[in-house]
């Protein structure tokens, strides 16, 4: 086998973007066989640092050394020549090509005109056998599950000759069981003289997988050291720079009436197959019900049918005993439904609209805000001012466009709008995805308050911790059906993980 990178050093790296210092004098080292976990909140500079190493950005100051030689990585292609490979959070695979063809894409750039698929196949199979990662070279990417695609990404990166791997949030879309498998695999690779940089904000994983930890905060390296010497809570505090306690909802035994009753609902997904297959679910006032599941098992379709933006083929949906099946979205909103959508920038807000205009998105037709067709400027101004204040939305003024806010603040705009309307039922889809811990804490606090105010909250999430912390009951969704509903106290990581993989008969 070719030579391995013995030591990587990034020294005094600084990087500025207009108006921000993204990285401020950051230095890290990584030796052969080590797994370095790079921790930090969103915007702390993890991805910027890795993009510099991978040649997507260039540092303003500082040097990168491999085996004590300064290198200049100009592009990802350059990075590969230096045996540095990266697996992005969103896989860089072409769905309509086979596994083999996808891997050959990287090769194609190295040889001018000729594409030797046979050679690529041989190399790839070598890697696959060596690390015991079964992949079918002739399968099309779109046929593969997320976990399998990840394996393809890893095989691809190794086949292209990398032995320093950068993994950007590799476990974001995996079930707990798949995550465990990945962690074992990474450890195996490290033993085989590869080095790995693992970007994550899931502290438990970081604890088990890494041998070394570097914590970034606001572009500065605030901590570096071996993994063993710090506890999970200490690391969390390092990341946030303050004490944090993610709120847990207090246990509760009495709930109100059924507010949302979903009866054997069938609906198509975007591909025209059945996305929901007779889904049954009841949601009561004053409870938080979690929907746990690997993404793509009907969560999106479920949120859509409740909101009236996807057609229900069979079955009924009752909101506070009103049949809302296939009503228009507007009617359902008027009936008392609040929605915190998955895609907060493009579904939850109008990015180019001001904060003020976004805050009235669901109420602009009320007699309070408009008379006949004319918007009441003064009422809206004071309404927006109130909400910005109450929900502590950080924006220069209410006329700032929503797109220029941070993810956490955009989510606050949506929360402010949806909760202030006092809906009977509130659907929250992946409400903390991509948010830093501080913002997540805030969102959870508000959801618990909504529950306290008697709203029925449906929380769709793939973060088990979030679900276990908040939910009174947990429903596991699998292939468009609710597989089982557990009470919050009887559920745990392992049980949920098995159910999410479709296993019901564990006893």
């Amino acid at each position: 086998m070719a030579e391995r990178i013995q030591q990587l050093e990034m020294k005094h790296i600084s990087k500025r973007f207009p108006g921000v210092l993204a990285l401020d004098d950051v230095s890290i080292t990584l030796k052969n066989g080590e797994i370095l976990a790079l921790l930090g909140e969103n915007g702390a500079g993890k991805t910027t640092l890795m993009n510099i190493l991978y040649g997507l950005y260039h540092q303003d100051e500082g040097t990168v050394l491999i085996d004590n030689e300064v290198i200049h990585v100009k592009s990802p292609k350059d990075a590969l020549l230096h045996k540095i490979g990266m697996v992005h959070q969103h896989f860089m695979l072409v769905p309509n090509l086979t596994v083999l063809e996808n891997i050959a894409l990287g090769y194609f750039q190295n040889t001018r005109f000729k594409l030797d698929l046979g050679l690529v196949r041989k190399k790839m199979m070598d890697i696959s056998v060596r690390y015991d990662m079964a992949v079918n070279p002739d399968a099309y990417i779109w046929q593969l599950s997320v976990g399998e695609q990840q394996r393809v990404e890893l095989v691809k990166t190794l086949t292209l000759g990398a032995n320093l791997l950068i993994l950007d949030e590799p476990t974001a879309a995996l079930t707990p069981q798949q995550t465990d498998e990945l962690i074992d695999l990474l450890k195996e690779m490290a033993k085989d003289n590869n080095s790995i940089i693992f970007i994550s904000h899931k502290l438990n994983e970081v604890k088990t997988v890494s041998s070394k930890i570097a914590v970034l905060r606001n572009g500065k390296l605030v901590h570096e050291g071996p993994t063993g010497s710090y506890s999970v809570t200490e690391l969390a505090e390092q990341m946030a720079g303050r004490q944090i306690n993610l709120p847990k909802s207090p246990e509760k035994s009495k709930f109100g009436d059924v507010m949302l009753d979903i009866k054997k609902v069938w609906a198509h997904n975007d591909q025209g197959a059945w996305g929901l297959q007779g889904l049954d679910l009841q949601l009561k006032a004053g409870e938080i019900l979690g929907i746990a599941g690997v993404s793509g098992n009907g969560q999106k379709e479920l949120a859509d049918v409740i909101n009236g933006v996807r057609k229900v083929e069979k079955g009924d949906i009752l909101l506070d005993n009103w049949n809302i099946t296939n009503h228009s979205a507007q009617k359902i909103i008027d009936q008392g439904l609040g929605y915190i959508p998955e895609d907060r920038l493009h579904e939850g807000t109008l990015p180019a609209f001001s904060v003020r205009e976004n805050l009235i998105l669901k109420d602009y037709t009320t007699s309070q805000m408009s008379s006949s067709i004319f918007l009441k400027k003064k009422v809206i101004d004071s309404f927006a001012e109130d909400l910005i204040e109450t929900f502590n939305i950080k924006c220069p003024d209410m006329y700032t466009s929503c797109a220029s806010l941070s993810g956490g603040n955009i989510q606050k705009v949506i929360l402010a709008r949806e909760i202030t309307r006092k809906p009977k039922v509130l659907i929250a889809a992946y409400p903390i995805r991509g948010l830093d811990i501080g913002a997540a804490e805030y969102v959870h606090q508000r959801l618990i308050e909504a529950r306290g105010a008697g709203m029925a909250v449906l929380l769709i999430s793939e973060e088990l911790e979030e679900i276990l912390d908040l939910c009174d009951r947990i429903a596991v969704i699998y292939e468009g059906k609710i597989l089982k509903v557990l009470s919050g106290s009887e559920a745990d990581n392992r049980k949920l993980g098995l159910l999410m993989a479709g296993v019901t008969d564990e006893e």
Binding site: R16, P18, N307, A329, L350, A352, I373, F374, D397
Partner: protein, 377 residues
């Protein structure tokens, strides 16, 4: 304190916007100058004639406004459509259908008093244009047909319908009896004529109608729930749908209004300038209107000055043609160059790196200076 800074920043942004638009215009004129040189004309003389001579006579000034009126109306329609996320390239066809619908009403009820007949003509033109725009809007909303293709194709159909009606059912009986057969309608009765603002010129009250409508469009788009929905649909249809809006209907509505405004541009031309419908009624206003709308920042109140600038370009280029002996059609190339320049200049507003440089050029150099200091360290 922070608020003040933000306001200052906003002011800078606005200045930057203006600067970019003017710079784009200058770049387009510079490239246009090369065209003049190729056409063996003196660009300095050509431009000086173009931009100054129209102002030296009452005729020139009034002509600018005569041209600006239809441009403004088409531009307003285009802005409504663009703001609602639908690209209307069919202004030309909508003008023609609007014009012929208005002409039909004018010819059918010659005896009605002005106060009834003129609104009827404008209403008919509006409906005609709205029908033509609405076809494309409906196809986009409910059949998912790309509106750029459909509006362009509908232009051709409109041209044929228009010419068929002018040659056949609506032709001036005199043209038939004299045997000349020029495709045009009879002259309307006086009660279908827009009032002249200045006797002895062609300037008519259409410009006032256009300005009033510009203000109305501003109110519609920014002060009403309907405009709120239309803009929401234009910015992010997914979010609009999630918020309960009927996206398809608002796309259709935008095209109805957009076509209607172009139709009214046709009405202004037949009632204000020609007093009949004739073959070359539009003079490319349907396409120039797109440039007017973009140049005016897709804002009704920006479209007022922008349409006057383009009125000047048209009148000026006519005068230039006589003075420099270069074909006036070169002005079409310059219009095209202006679109390209403005669209390309967007990079200076979108890309922060360029934006910073631009702000520096304008003298707002605080940030860049800091950065340089940092780098020198």
């Amino acid at each position: 304190m922070k608020n003040n800074e933000e306001k200052k920043k906003q002011k800078q942004e606005r200045l930057l916007n203006l600067f970019i638009v003017v710079a784009a215009l200058l770049v387009a004129l510079f490239i246009g100058a090369l065209l003049f040189i190729i056409a063996k004309g003196n660009p300095f003389k050509a431009y000086s004639v173009m931009f100054t001579r129209p102002f030296t006579s009452l005729f020139g000034i009034t002509e600018i406004l005569v041209r600006a009126a239809p441009l403004m109306l088409v531009g307003l329609g285009i802005a409504i459509a663009f703001r609602s996320g639908i690209l209307n390239i069919g202004g030309e066809g909508q003008i023609l259908i609007g014009a012929i619908a208005g002409a039909a009403v004018a010819l059918a009820f010659p005896g009605l008093p002005k106060i009834i007949l003129l609104p009827m003509i404008f209403m008919a033109s509006f409906l005609g244009g709205a029908l033509w725009g609405g076809i494309a809007g409906w196809m986009r909303s409910y059949l998912n047909v790309n509106e750029i293709l459909s509006t362009v194709m509908l232009n051709y159909i409109a041209m044929q319908v228009y010419m068929f009606l002018l040659r056949g059912p609506l032709i001036d009986p005199k043209e038939v009896s004299y045997g000349t057969g020029v495709p045009q309608t009879a002259v309307f009765s006086k009660s279908a004529w827009l009032a002249k603002l200045i006797p002895g010129t062609r300037l008519h009250s259409g410009i006032i109608i256009a300005i009033v409508l510009a203000v109305a469009v501003y109110i519609l788009l920014w002060k009403t729930t309907i405009g709120y929905r239309m803009r929401a649909v234009g910015i992010e249809p997914k979010a609009a749908r999630t918020a309960g809006m009927n996206v398809q209907w608002y796309l259709l509505l935008a095209m109805l209004l957009s076509g209607g405004f172009a139709g009214m541009a046709g009405a202004v031309e037949i009632t204000g300038v020609h007093h009949r419908a004739l073959e070359s009624i539009s003079a490319g206003y349907g396409f120039s209107g797109i440039v007017v709308a973009l140049f005016g920042g897709l804002h009704p109140l920006g479209i007022i000055p922008s349409s006057i600038v383009f009125g000047l370009l048209i009148v000026g280029s006519d005068m230039m043609q006589r003075a420099v002996n270069v074909p006036a059609s070169i002005i079409l190339s310059i219009q095209g160059l202006i679109i390209l320049a403005i669209v390309s200049a967007q990079i200076f507003l979108v890309n922060p790196k360029y934006k910073e440089k631009m702000l520096w050029i304008l003298g707002f150099n605080a940030r860049l200076k800091n950065r340089n200091k940092g780098e020198r360290r």
